[in-house]
């Protein structure tokens, strides 16, 4: 999914697909921060920026999404896949 094609419905669909059945404010906080940061900077936030921007620890964030941060939250926010090796 391209960043521009994302919608709240798409997020909810992707969340359900990954096993995330109950979406609350904390999930939205992560998703909205990822999207606003990417829209402004055209890149994903650094770990520290993600932490500051959401007010959450990475550990808490990782626990929120069944498929984690890199391939979970990022994907659900419509960001491109992270560079991995």
């Amino acid at each position: 999914m391209h960043f521009e094609d994302w919608s709240e419905e798409a997020f909810e669909w992707l969340a359900k697909e990954s096993g995330l059945l109950q979406i609350d404010d904390r999930h939205w906080r992560v998703i909205r921060f990822l999207r606003s940061f990417y829209a402004y900077n055209r890149r994903a936030p650094l770990h520290r920026q993600l932490k500051e921007g959401t007010g959450m620890s990475l550990l808490e964030m990782e626990g929120l999404f069944p498929s984690g941060i890199k391939t979970g939250a990022r994907r659900m926010a419509g960001l491109p896949n992270p560079k991995s090796c």
Partner: protein, 387 residues
């Protein structure tokens, strides 16, 4: 953003921080003698060329080379290994290598095989991460032209029995080349004594130099054709690339600033009591290994002791993706580690950790006890949060 408080445990990727005084001295020299080495007869160019020649000699001696060996500079070990493999591959030729290799060997081999220029066999490693020299011997065929072995795995840290493999290769008349990306600067390397025909190295890991400088050490008994062509500063009327070493395997102006920096850091590394440093780092590795193995939900890979190893290890937190664990270590605990396949996909395939890979902790010259304790505490917190 400042990284002053960062606990850096990714020295197998590149050493950090670098010895600043060495790099500053190199820059001062570069600003003074930064002419084009070997490309002019004026004193500046000659002095630059003389220094490059001296560094070739210093590196060759550092690796245990004698007068039979020539040192060709490259950007890094990957480029040096490409130079080697492309230069040896001929239709009908065969190469023996191992499952421990980095993509710097595996990918050139696959490309060359696809082009019909080489066949190859990869020898597996045992449950502790070591290759059996007997299996190397068994894989050698009548058309084998080269054996390439990763001296020390960048995933498991295991140091391979290269002297034993060298003996086999000598008896069979096959050149043995080593990838010493991880080991150079950490443990002694003795190419001549070990019957090793050559090696590929990079300057930016345990040699503590900058990125962008490495090389290929080659015994004169090995025939390697050039795979890149261009200016060398010698034999310019020849329409073909010169056969003269070291220029045969170098095309274009060398990285003088990188060479000067590597000379400085090489002297720095040689000035250290390397055995003492190695023992210190291995004691820290043993502490890390024991600390991680004591944690529920953490799986440590590789041999059950730290003998014949470099100071690195891989592990995973059960039920957690390694890239997310690495993100938590970085974002919450200020600890830098490398997650993934580490450009060595076959090692992870063997371990059963593909495709996500694992988390690698790799120690370095500046790693302290407090860094290891912090890493264990951080991993403990992550493991505890796993249901």
């Amino acid at each position: 953003m400042a990284y002053g408080d960062l606990i850096y445990l990714d020295n197998a990727a590149t050493s950090y921080p670098k010895p600043g005084e060495c790099l500053r001295r190199a820059l001062d020299q570069y600003l003074r003698i930064g002419g084009s080495p070997g490309r002019g007869s004026y004193d500046l160019a000659v002095e630059a060329d003389n220094i490059v020649s001296e560094v070739r000699e210093e590196l060759s001696l550092f690796f245990g080379g004698d007068s039979r060996y020539r040192l060709c500079f490259a950007y890094n070990a990957t480029e040096a290994l490409n130079t080697l493999l492309q230069g040896v591959a001929k239709p009908g030729s065969h190469v023996v290598s191992t499952w421990l290799e980095h993509n710097s060997v595996l990918r050139p081999l696959h490309h060359l095989r696809e082009e019909g220029r080489v066949e190859f066999d990869l020898v597996r490693f045992d449950q502790n991460g070591f290759v059996d020299p007997g299996e190397i011997a068994a894989a050698i065929r009548s058309n084998t032209r080269l054996v390439v072995v990763n001296h020390a795995s960048n995933v498991l840290g295991t140091i391979q029995p290269v002297a034993d493999i060298g003996e086999i290769c000598r008896d069979r008349g096959i050149p043995l080349f080593l990838d010493v990306s991880q080991s150079a600067g950490l443990i002694p390397i003795e190419v001549s004594e070990w019957n090793v025909a050559g090696l590929a190295f990079t300057g930016h890991k345990a040699l503590l130099g900058p990125t962008g400088i490495g090389g290929l050490l080659v015994s004169q008994e090995v025939e390697i054709s050039p795979s890149r062509f261009g200016g060398t500063g010698v034999d310019s009327s020849n329409p073909f690339h010169t056969a003269e070493y070291p220029y045969r395997l170098e095309a274009g102006t060398v990285n003088l600033l990188g060479i000067l920096a590597l000379r400085e850091t090489l002297a720095y590394v040689k000035g250290l009591n390397r055995d003492k440093h190695y023992q210190r780092e291995m004691a820290l590795l043993a502490r890390l290994r024991d600390g991680l193995m004591a944690l529920d939900n953490v799986e440590v890979y590789g041999s059950q002791n730290v003998d014949n190893r470099l100071p690195l290890l891989c592990c995973n937190v059960r039920g957690r993706r390694p890239d997310d664990v690495a993100a938590v270590l970085d974002g919450d605990f200020n600890i830098a580690v490398r997650a993934g396949l580490h450009c060595a996909p076959l090692v992870h395939k063997h371990l059963g950790t593909a495709p996500e890979g694992a988390i690698r902790f790799s120690l370095g010259a500046y790693t302290g006890e407090e860094d290891i304790e912090a890493a264990i505490q951080a991993m403990s917190a992550i493991a505890r949060s796993t249901g």
